[in-house]
């Protein structure tokens, strides 16, 4: 069983710095593996433990994105493929095209796993785009994946329902984080990860796929100020409760 996992090296949304004019300082902010991706890596590593085979990590990103691949390798993945592209130079379709080209080049995967979305921009667009470009079926928002001979049964967590679907391999699956509890790698695993194979792929070696996406551009970004009152209410529980409701009534959000 060969599993490809696509991960994203993302700006840490909790550490993003916003300057006084309200402009987010994306470039200088700390970055990390998109938190939801850990569930995809974990699921792949469990599949290999149960069924044998190999787990390959793919990412598109700046040189710094190597840290994310190494983290996935420390979690138990076998090798990594790093498609070099600077942050902000590819949109979702561009990213999907680069990943699809690299996955095709490596070839022979039974499953491509992704997270439902990334923790920074959460578009959820790359996984279905990837399926389309690889001409594979797609099952999104999986909370349980079960193997039966050459098909998988997947439980999809949708807004209104939980849907059970069946699909033959190979396919693309995106997982929600309740599918598993991702492991924390040990120090030894982190050290061993640096010896695992990690291949650099310059984007222009992936052919015309290396150059374009859907041209969705960011015109501008502005921080959303949190204009909240921050009024702390004190007193005994009954006093505090009464004061709170008085305040809410004068705001007009509960009946006077």
């Amino acid at each position: 069983m060969r599993v490809a996992v696509c991960v994203k090296h993302a700006v840490d949304e909790t550490e993003l710095r916003i300057d006084q004019s309200g402009t987010p300082l994306v470039e200088g902010s700390p970055s990390k593996m998109s938190s939801f991706d850990k569930s995809a890596v974990e699921e792949a590593v469990r599949m290999r433990a149960a069924r044998g085979g190999e787990v390959t990590i793919f990412t598109v990103g700046s040189p710094d994105a190597k840290r994310t691949i190494k983290e996935a390798l420390a979690m138990g993945a076998d090798k990594g493929v790093h498609i070099l592209a600077e942050l902000g130079t590819v949109d979702t379709l561009g990213t999907a095209r680069l990943l699809a080209a690299a996955i095709k080049m490596a070839g022979g995967f039974d499953m491509v796993l992704c997270a439902e979305g990334s923790s920074d921009t959460y578009t959820g667009q790359v996984p279905p785009m990837l399926a389309e470009l690889l001409a594979l079926p797609f099952v999104g928002y999986a909370r349980k994946i079960e193997f039966k001979d050459h098909v998988v049964d997947v439980e999809q967590s949708l807004e209104e329902s939980v849907t059970s679907v069946e699909c033959a391999l190979p396919l693309v699956v995106s997982v929600v984080s309740e599918i598993n509890e991702p492991r924390y790698p040990t120090l030894i695993q982190i050290m061993q990860a640096s010896k695992k194979p990690l291949m650099d792929v310059p984007r222009d070696t992936l052919g015309p796929a290396g150059f374009s996406g859907g041209n969705v551009g960011v015109v501008s970004m502005s921080g959303k100020p949190m204009n909240r009152k921050h009024i702390m209410i004190e007193g005994t529980p009954d006093e505090a409760a009464k004061k709170l409701l008085d305040a809410l009534a004068s705001e007009g959000v509960i009946p006077k």
């Binding site: 279905p128 999104g140 329902s161 929600v176 041209n215 959303k224 705001e251």
Partner: protein, 310 residues
Amino acid sequence: MTPLVWAYSESDEAANELSSAANQIANASAGQSTILEVGKPRDGVRGNNKLVLKSSARPPYTSEVVSEMIFRAAQKFKPSVILVGSTRQGREVAGRLAAKMGAGSMSDAFALRISGQMLFGSRNVYAGRVVAQMSAPLPSIATVRIGAYPPESAASAKVQEFEAGDVPSRVKILRATKKESGSIDIRKAKTVVSVGRGIKKKEDISMMEGLAKTMGAALGCSRPISSDLGWLPEECHIGLTGISVSPELYLAVGISGQLQHVAGIKDSKVIAAINSDKDAPIFQAADYGIVGDLYQLVPAIQRAFSARKS
């Protein structure tokens, strides 16, 4: 050339919002809007024009089938913009469609408009801390944020059909189990009471239900309560990966206030929070805060609320 704006969502409610979004965008640029239907038109979905997509596929339709049907119709009618409801299924339809057409896909967009040969729109990024203005050349796909547009009220007039031919699906739907949902739709509720890890056991959820009932509120929760513990159904989960709410009053009880939760409540008019930890980040996102034990405060608020009503 007058722009043609299409809109599709598998959810009736979202389809009505998208119908008014499509109208608004089309009207602003002297264009035309059309609601897409798959198989047959739905009575509950309103719009000026409807295009019913037919094919060999039978319901329930997978997103794989829907995206291919829309793609084939788009090759004939050449819409400038295709809006898709930003639901979990909608994101697959949009992603596949964008890849088929080689078009850009804007995600979870609002404030959409056409200017020249471009589509412009806004969206929240970095767990709602930043608003990004985006652009994409036409034709473009956009998933539209649920709740960003009012539902369409005009009755539909013209219905046209398109035959997409043979459209296979490789994904087979075995069964769908409807998730249980609260008595009041959380998205539309004027007051939302929400509970997090401050609550110690499942049985105590009934205390929160009592408070919600007294206040005429919908009950929501942070991710751990629904996804990890399963104490409330997943459709109660408010936050980045759950639903976004914008009530008049959001009362957070025992919720620490991680960014990913706050992303789903930012547009609330007033936010009040109760937490035993005075340094809990939820207080940074709140208008009113009480530091204290929720097991004392919740009954106290319920008593005080009942006393006000009588």
